[in-house]
Every structure is written in structure tokens, then in C-alpha cells.
Amino acid sequence: MSGPGEPGHEQDSEPASVVPDVGPTPGPPSEVALRVDHLSKTFPGTRALIDVSFAIKTGEIHALVGGNGSGKSTLIKILAGVYHGDAGGTITVGDTTLAADHTTPAKARALGLHFVHQNPAVFPALSVAENMVIGHGFSTNAAGSIRWRALRRQTQALLDRFQINVHPEALVSSLRPAERAMVAIARALQDQEGQHTGVLVLDEPTASLPRAEVVRLMGALNRFARAGQTILFVSHRLDEVIDTADQATVLRDGRLAGTLVGDEITESRLIELIAGRTLDRMYPVMPPVESDEVVLEARGLTGGPLQGVDFQLRRGEVLGIAGLLGSGRSELLKMIFGAYPIKSGTLLLDGKAVKFRDIGDAMDAGIAYVPEDRGGEAAFLNQSLADNVVASSISRYWKALRLRNRAMDHDARDIIGRYFIRASSEKQIMGTLSGGNQQKVVLARWLSRKPRVLLLDEPTQGVDVNARAEIYTLISKAVGDGCSVLLVTSDFEELSRVADRAVVLSGGRVTSELRGAEIEPVRLTELAFSTQEVAS
């Protein structure tokens, strides 16, 4: 969910740095394995990365940390040659310097940068040995047949080198998650042949690993580093950064927020740099919660990543749900909407236990859901704006064996006006609208049904500042009419401005609850990133 298209990291004002920016660490060139100088990346409408410089010493484990949309994924993609940086930036590995606007995946490889991405592209149905050579071409004999024995031998040597205790012929699907990640790492590094000139870049290697596996993988990284391997890893687990990294670079809103070395890497320092103080944005004043009436209540909701979630949502209240990716926040919303199976636990609507067999039931009960992935799960991109607006209520226009197309168009025109949608007409094709306007269309689709409970998953992701303000104006109107909102957002600044109350989801449970002035970005960051349960 991070990304350059993301909102809010506007170019118009300077984020107040908590510490002065730290330039590239000076030192003899032989000691620096990777140096990034003045790296910027501009996307139409946003600057994802602004003049970032830092250096990594040979044989060190360097962590790259930052919140969603801070620019770390963009930086990794520029290093990998997937994106071109803006002109002026350079990437130096050893003695070779590359202009950031001329990167390609092949050049990155030639420089000695080896990447393992978040979901390592291992092939579960193939053996470890096959996985090792898959991107390199199989070595074959004169008849074109694969030389299996040689392959097994090479793989065994590789596994020994990286101390991975698996059989070359084992299927990758049978390996533990940490071993799979290690196989991916070994594959990325196999060309290095013992010398450690290159840099291993890991993009959130632990994002989908359970706790015990993280420890195994981090242990392996430490071993590689002691052997002289330089490692850059992106992570959002602060504990592993603190335990493992020799240096940590923190990005915020596309800029370098600071670099911490050795003992400076503490939880409080990291959180200070990650959260920082962000831009003042225009948020409408949400109407105060006037009722004590509980509309929706969850008791011990379990399923998927969730392990017993409890909360209460009052009439006219905005309840924020803070949590990291993978904390189960999206699954929680889907469960309430009848779109994700509930293993156990109860959902109560107006004090009565409800069981939604499908989404239609939840909709009938007055629940509405705006998913996180607009293009994938909400927008009908090749259909008209009118089709998109009425998509959730078509049957309403079915009268006397005829669809009232004219009434539909009329309502759609009306909605365009009321929901601040910038479009030439209700016939305009959804895909030709800007992200912010598409989001307003999706919101209008649900708000026009006058829902009692509105579930919002990252409602302002990928929209510009103005649209963001308009979206919150619309939500505040609905709240004023008595709608209750469950709001999931990774933007804790936004959460602190909009929510009446916030719960933090961590390890599949609600670990703490904040009210009013307590809802504060630094505090939220701290709670969401912390892995232990915190008493509220």
C-alpha cells in the first residue's frame, strides 16, 4: 500500500525533520559497499522520493525503515532498475557509479545488487535444485537433456555454503517458511562465488513469516553478515531492526528522516523518526458522538489472522482501526461484511446476534463496505459512472418488468453533484476518472444506500489532498446523519484527526484502545509496531 501515487506526501511544504538530515557517511571508498546520492523520484502529481542520500558499509546489515508511503518501496525499485530515478541521482556499488535515471534490472545485476522480494518468487511445486537454476537456464548435455546429477551437486554446495539444512531434491512446498526465504536468498547470491562484493537487498523478508521463523531467518542473516556479506533490508518490525541492524535509515514522506547507528537504534528513536510530524491537512470537524447506543459489537471474532477480536461501535461514531499490514484489519472488515468466513465469535447488530450468510445479507442489514483495492475490488473500470454508482442498488430500479434506465441516469447525475465528482457526464467511463474521483464514486455507491454501518478500508489511498478533504467531508455528513464508521487506515495522522476512538490490532487481537486526544500518530505508531500486548 505504500507507493508514490499515494497521497499526502505533498511537495508543497517541508515536513519538520526531527533530526537534521544525515548525509552519506564519509569513509574510504573501499569500505562503502553501496552509496546512494541525491536520489529523487517524481511521479505525475507526487514526489515519492526527494533527495535521499545514504551509504552502507561493507559487511554491515543496514535496515531501511519507514511508514506506508514513505518511499522505501520506490527506493528499492530504483535500485532494482524497475523504476528510473530522476536525473541527478547516483547509485554507487564498490567503484562503479550508475546514474539513477539510467538503471535497468540488468545493470543492477551487473553492479552486484541481489534482490529478494517480499513474496520471494520461489516455485513451491519444484525442487530446491530446480529453484536454484530456474532463472539461469539449466545446464544440458549434448542431447539437450538436463544434467541432473551436476545440478544436484552444485545445489548441495550452495546449500552448504549458506548452511541451509535441506535436501536438494526436496520440494520447496515442503520447506518451512524461513527455509524458503533462505533458498530465495541463496539463489540470489549464488553468482557471487564466495567473494562478498555485492549487496543483498531484502524487501520485507519477514512480512509473512511467523515469529519463530523470523528468528531463524535473522539468525541466518547475521551469519551471512559475519562472513562479510553486505545486507540491506526493508522491514516494519522494529524489534528485528533493533536486534539485527548495524545501521538504520529512516524515510518519511519521501525524504531521509535520519540515520541511526548501533546503540542509537532504539524503539523510541525509530518511532520518533518514522512518525515525525506530518503536514497539516484539511480535515472536517467530525460531529461529536451523541449517543451511547451500541450499533455493532464484535465478541471474540476469530478467523484468518484474527484470534478473538472484541470491540463496540456506537451510533454516529468513527472508530479507527490501527494495525500494520497483515494484522488482519482488512479481514476484520470483510468478516463483518459477510465476505470472509468467521471461524468463531459473535457479531451483534443492535444487541442481537447476526450471522450473514453472504454479502447480500450484510447489505440488507445496512452494512456498506469500501474495499482497500479500488481497481481490483470496487471499480468497474470499463463501465459508465452511472453503472458504477447504481451497482449496489440495481434491483431498486426494476419496476413493472422494466429497468428504469432514465431514473438511474437521473439519480447518477444527482449523485455526481452531491458527491463532488468531477466528470463530464454520468456516461463517462469510470477508468477515465482520476483516482480521487473514482473513490468518490465508490463512496457514493454506498452512501446513497444510507448505510447504518460504513466499513472503510484505506479510503484515501492513492487520492490527492483535495479529494481527501472532500472524502472526509462526505463521511462526516453521513456520520452526522447517524451512520457509524469503522475506519482502517495506515495514515495515523489521518486517523488521529478523524476518529473518535481507535483500537490497535496486533497479533490478531485488539491490544489497546485510545480515545480523543490520546489518539496521536506517535502513540499509534508505537502501539502498532510493538509486538507485545500493551495494557490500555
Binding site: 500500500m1 508514490p4 476518472l433 482520476s434 490527492d464
Partner: protein, 352 residues
């Protein structure tokens, strides 16, 4: 903290639509846009009319092509292909292929003839039972595709081959032409108000499908499912059920097409109702999606496409062009149609 960056990038912001002011593009380009839209909508119609004029004045065909008999023959003779095109179009709307329509028609056709010839079924029964069997084939396809989630192309291609085998087994490779109800065979030759009765049958079928797709919620649901299945599910649509129904409708129409085939050929012919008929139907549906409502499968476009293909093939054969030209033409039409409708669709979705 994942990697949607590529899609999010540049998708937003003021570049596409100015954040203030709701007006469309300025005058001149708006005019060009309208002209483009008009061309897109009516290009096939214009091409169709031009083809008719060409064959009417071309010295090789001017003597035969523009005659009432020829025109009536083509109009009436395309009922089978037209209904087959409607059959394949319905699953296409929701993004699924039914490649079994041709062979379903092939089976229902020999069954209809066989029931009359071998079992002495009454005419209504000999017509309705095969249509019901067509519907059942659709149900089975739909069940496999919608509920279990198997790729529809593979499922229906496989079933096509199975149906072909059953036809060979049932007929022993011989045509069935005894005891065929004259009432049924007369349908192919009868006229009403100066036009072939089969044309009316096609028109009724087309109207029903048109009504269903454009004027009932079910039709809208199918288009939504075709546009974005996950989003359709998340606005409360019962995607599996609707897709299943689409296949049942497709199978039923294929059954109707099979009965018309009996009427056309006066019996059950093991060589009729083949995969090539499916491909022709597919060509018409895709060609139809380039016209009238570009980028969207639609009934009127499909009907125009069916007659465009039929009149062109007739004109060519009247001119004495070798038979192999026909399959080149049909295949070429499918290729061009898919190409054009993909380009149009991409532009409409704003992804080009």
C-alpha cells in the same frame, strides 16, 4: 507496505481530470471525439451497406445477388447461426466462454430427428426434450465453471468433443431423415408477410436476449461480473449463480438452434453442428462488440455482424470464388473483430 506502487503511480492527481471545473474537453477535440465515437459505432453498419451495394453492382454478382429469393434465403437461412451467436454471447458478457454451443446444437439436432424417426415422439415433445437436454448441457458446464471454478474454455472444449462422440454413436455416422414432421421442415421454407418464418424466430430470440441483457437487473449483473468479478461480488451479487444461469441460457439457445437445424436440413445430420459453427458464432459476437455499443457485447451488433458475414460469404460464392475462401473469411473476421474490440475496450477502460 506492499507493492501496488506501479498501479497507484500516476493514476491519480490532476493530470487526467482538472480538479476544478466539471466541463469536458474543449470544443474542437470534443467534436473530434464525437466523430470518432460515431465512426466506432457505425463502422460495421457502413461496411455492411457498402458490401450489399458492391455485390449488387459488381458485374459478376449483380444478376443474382440483389434478387428477392437470394435475400430471403440469406435472411431466413441465418436463423441457426444467429441463435448460436446469441447463445455464445450470453456467457461472453460475464467473461466466460461456451465453446460447446455448436456441438450442443449438433447433438440436439440428431436427438430431435431421432426421437421422431426412431421413437415416434409427438412433435412438441421431440422439440422440447432436446431443448431441455441442451439446457442440461449448459447446467453441467455452468456447474463446473461457476461452482468449481474450472476454466470455461477447457471445460466447454472438452465437452464439445464428448458431444461429437455421442452424435457419432447415436447416428452411426448416418443421417436420420425418416418420419421427420413436415410441420417442422416446413418452417424452413414457409413465409409470413413475405419474409421467411425462421427470420421471425430469430427476431423473437434476439428480442428476448436483448430485453434480458439491457432491461433486467440480471443483464446488468452479467455485465458487471464481466467487468470486474471481485467488485461484483462485493456489491452483493451472487456471482456463481448468475454465471451458472448464463450457461443454462446458452445451452437452451443452442438446443433451439439444433431444432432449427432439423427444420433446415429435413433431418438429423451427423456432420452438422460442429466446432466451426461455434467459431462463426464467436466471430459474430466479437464483431458485434465493435458496433452499436463499442467495447460491449450487444445483441443488435451481433445480429448486424451475423448478416454482414452471411451476405459477404453469399456474395463471394455467387461470384464463383472457391469454397476455401469462406473459412479464411470467417477466421479473418474473428481475428479482426477480437483485435478491434480489444483495442476499443482498452481505450474505454482508460488503460491504453
Amino acid at each position: 507496505m506492499t507493492v501496488v506502487a506501479d498501479t497507484a503511480a500516476g493514476e491519480d492527481g490532476p493530470s487526467r481530470v482538472p480538479p476544478s471545473g466539471t466541463s469536458g474537453p474543449p470544443g474542437r477535440s470534443r467534436g473530434r471525439e464525437l466523430a470518432l465515437e460515431f465512426t466506432e459505432r457505425y463502422a460495421l453498419v457502413v461496411l455492411f451497406v457498402a458490401t450489399l451495394i458492391f455485390f449488387s453492382v459488381w458485374s459478376k454478382t449483380s444478376g443474382t445477388f440483389p434478387h428477392a429469393t437470394n435475400i430471403k434465403n440469406v435472411l431466413g437461412g441465418e436463423a441457426y447461426s444467429g441463435i448460436l451467436a446469441l447463445a455464445i454471447m450470453i456467457p461472453l458478457v460475464c467473461g466466460e466462454f461456451d465453446f460447446s454451443v455448436g456441438n450442443s446444437a449438433g447433438l440436439t439436432q440428431v436427438l430431435c430427428a431421432g426421437f421422431m424417426a426412431r421413437l415416434g415422439f409427438a412433435v412438441p415433445l421431440a422439440i422440447l426434450v432436446p431443448i431441455a437436454i441442451g439446457a442440461f448441457i449448459g447446467l453441467s458446464n455452468g456447474n463446473t465453471v461457476a461452482r468449481i471454478g474450472v476454466n470455461s474454455l477447457i471445460v466447454t472444449l472438452g465437452i464439445s468433443s464428448v458431444l461429437l462422440g455421442i452424435v457419432q454413436w447415436y447416428t452411426n455416422g448416418q443421417s436420420i431423415s425418416n418420419n421427420i414432421s413436415p410441420w417442422l421442415t416446413n418452417i424452413a421454407t414457409d413465409e409470413w408477410l413475405g419474409l421467411p418464418v425462421t427470420l421471425y424466430i430469430l427476431a423473437v430470440a434476439a428480442l428476448i436476449v436483448y430485453y434480458m441483457l439491457e432491461h433486467t437487473p440480471y443483464g446488468r449483473y452479467l455485465y458487471s461480473i464481466g467487468s470486474n468479478r471481485d467488485a461484483a461480488r462485493l456489491v452483493g451479487l451472487r456471482v456463481e449463480r448468475y454465471v451458472l444461469i448464463a450457461f443454462v441460457l446458452s445451452g437452451t439457445l443452442a438446443g433451439v438452434a439444433g431444432v432449427l437445424l432439423v427444420s433446415n436440413s429435413g433431418g438429423g445430420n451427423p456432420q452438422a453442428g460442429q466446432i466451426i459453427d461455434t467459431l462463426q458464432a464467436l466471430a459474430a459476437a466479437y464483431l458485434g462488440a465493435t458496433a452499436i455499443k463499442p467495447g460491449r457485447f450487444n445483441v443488435l451488433g451481433t445480429m448486424i455482424a451475423i448478416y454482414f458475414l452471411a451476405f459477404t460469404v453469399t456474395g463471394l460464392s455467387l461470384a464463383g470464388v472457391a469454397d476455401w475462401i469462406n473459412s479464411v473469411f470467417d477466421g479473418g473476421a474473428l481475428f479482426v473483430a477480437v483485435l478491434v474490440s480489444t483495442i476499443i475496450g482498452r481505450r474505454r477502460a482508460g488503460t491504453s
